[in-house]
Amino acid sequence: MSLPFNYSTSLGTTTLPNPILTASGCAGSGKELAQFFPLTELGAIVTKSIMLKPRSGRATPRMAETPSGMLNAIGLQGPGLDLFIENDLPWLADQGARTIVSIAGETVEDYAVLARRIRTQPGVVGIEVNISCPNVENRGLVFACHPDTARAAMEAVRRNVGGDMPIIAKLSPDVTDIVQIARTVVDAGADGVALINTLLGMVIDTRTMRPRLAQKTGGLSGPAIRPVAVRAVYQVREALPNLPIVGMGGITSGQDALEFVLAGAQAISIGTSTFGDPQAATRIKSELETLLIERGFSSFSDAVGYAHRAENV
C-alpha cells in the first residue's frame, strides 16, 4: 500500500487526528501528564468530570488495589465550573490540545447549565456527559441506571448544545440492559456513547473488618473489567451500528485497544493504565497503529466494528 495509514476518526461532527483519548478522571487537569508527552499527540484530552460547584470529593481511603484492577471513590473532587473555565480550559487551549469536557450534574438543571457554559469555550471539541458516576451521594441518582433519568439529563444537554458540538453520553455497565439505555440516550439527542464507566464494587479490609474505602463502595476499573467493557461495546454496536462509540475499560496495550476497535469503538479512552504508566496513552497509540497496519488496514475507520462482519469474510 502506497498511501500512508489514515489514523483519523470522527465523533459526530468532530474529526480527530487519531482515536486515542484520555479517560475522564484519569489525566488530572492535563498539566500533570504534559511533562511526559505533548498533549497534542492524543486525539483529545477528556477532562475530569466537572460539576457546577467546587467539590472536595470523598474522604480517604479513596482507593484500593484489586486483582488486575482498582476501586476508586474520588467523588468528583474538582474546582467547579467557574475556576475550570478560568484556569484549566485556557491552559489546554494554549497547548493546542483538543478538549472533550466531561460534565456531571446533581440535577437535570445542572447538566443544562454546564452544557450551556462549556459549549462556547476555546479548544472544546465535544462534551462527554457523565451520567454514570457511581460515587455520587445517592446511588439512586446514577442517571444512566434508569432510562427516564438518562433521557432527562441528555435532553437537557441537547437543548443547550447545537449540532456543531458532539455530545456523548457516558454509560454505566451496572444495568440489566445497556442497549436499552443506549437507545434511550440516542433518542434524547446523544451523538455517541462512551462505554464503560466503572462497575460498583467493594473491598473489605480483613484487619479492620470494615469496608476499605471510607465511602464503602467504589468504582472498579482496570484490566479486570475489560471483558465486560468489550461486551458492552459489541452489544451496542450490534444494535446501533452507526452510533459512534468511545470504548474504554482496562486498556493497557495496543492489543487491548484493538479488541475495542474490532468490537465497534470509534475512539479509545485510556484510564487506569495511565496510573501504572504515564506514557500509556501515547504508547498505545503507536502500538495500535502498528497492529492495524500489520493487519492490512489502510485506515482506522475500516477496522471499526470489523468483528461484526459476516462469518465467511
Partner: protein
Amino acid sequence: MSSINKRAQQIMAEIISNKKVGAYHHITLSVGEIAQLIRPGNFVAIAVGGADSRMVLRRAFAIYKASMDPLDGGIVELVVAPHGSGSTWLCNAPLHSKIDMILPLGKAFGIPVEPVNALLVGGGYGSAPLFGLAEALKAKQCNVDMVLGASTASKIYAPQEGKRSTNSMIFTTDDGSLGIEGMVSSVIPELIEKNKIEIIYSCGPMAMLEAVTKISVEFGLQHQCAVEESMACGIGVCMTCVLPVRGEDGVARMLRTCIDGPVMEGSDILWNTGRTVPSEVWGA
C-alpha cells in the same frame, strides 16, 4: 493550585545492589544523570510485579540517597520494608533486574538559608530520607539532631555513614530493644529545649507525624513532615492520595500529597480526619 514537578522522568533502572538490613532491604539502582536533580524528600514511583502481574498501580518509595558514583554513575538508594505484595516483590528483585521507575517526584524538604538548629524525627523506614536531608542541612552549617523510633531494634534504619551528618542521634523502641523504651514523641520536648531547636523535620507513620505536629505547635516551631498516603499514580492524575490541608488563605482543601507533598507543614494538616471529610474543607 500546585506547581507541578516538571523534571520527572520514567526510566528503566538496573538494580546494582540489594541487601537485607534488619527488617528492610537496602536497594541501590543505577539511574543515570537524573540523580543530580534529586532533593531530600523526593520519592520514586515504581511499577511492581512484572508484565503478567495483577498489580496495576505504582508503589511510592522515599529516596534514601541520590549520588553520582565515580563507578556506577547516577545512583539512587531506597530502604524498603516488605509490607504487602508489591514491596515484597521489589525486595526479592534479583540483582541486575530492570525496574520501571519515575523520579524525582514530590516536593522536597525546604532547606533554610541561614544556619538553624534542626531536629529530624524518623519512624521506621521513615528515617530513609532524613539522612540526605541531614547532609544538606550540614552543608548549610545547621546543627542536626536526630531521633529515630520504631517498634523494635530491627526496624530502626540508621547506617553508620548516615550518622556522620548528625550532631546527635537518639533511638527509641516500643519494646526497649534499642535505645530508650517508648515513642519518639516522649523524648522530643526535652530535646527541643536542651538543643534550642528551631525547626523540626519528620518522616514516618501518620500517627507519629500527628504527635510531632502537636509538639511543634506547642513550642511554636515550623514542622516539615513527609506524609505517607495511599497513592495510585504518584504523579498527580488519580486524586487518591489527598489530605485535608489548610492553605495560606485559611481555607482547607483536599490536596494531593504526591504533588503538593509529600513534604507539608504539619500544622496545616487537618489530622486524624480519616474516613470523613472535615466540614470546613472547601472545593478542590
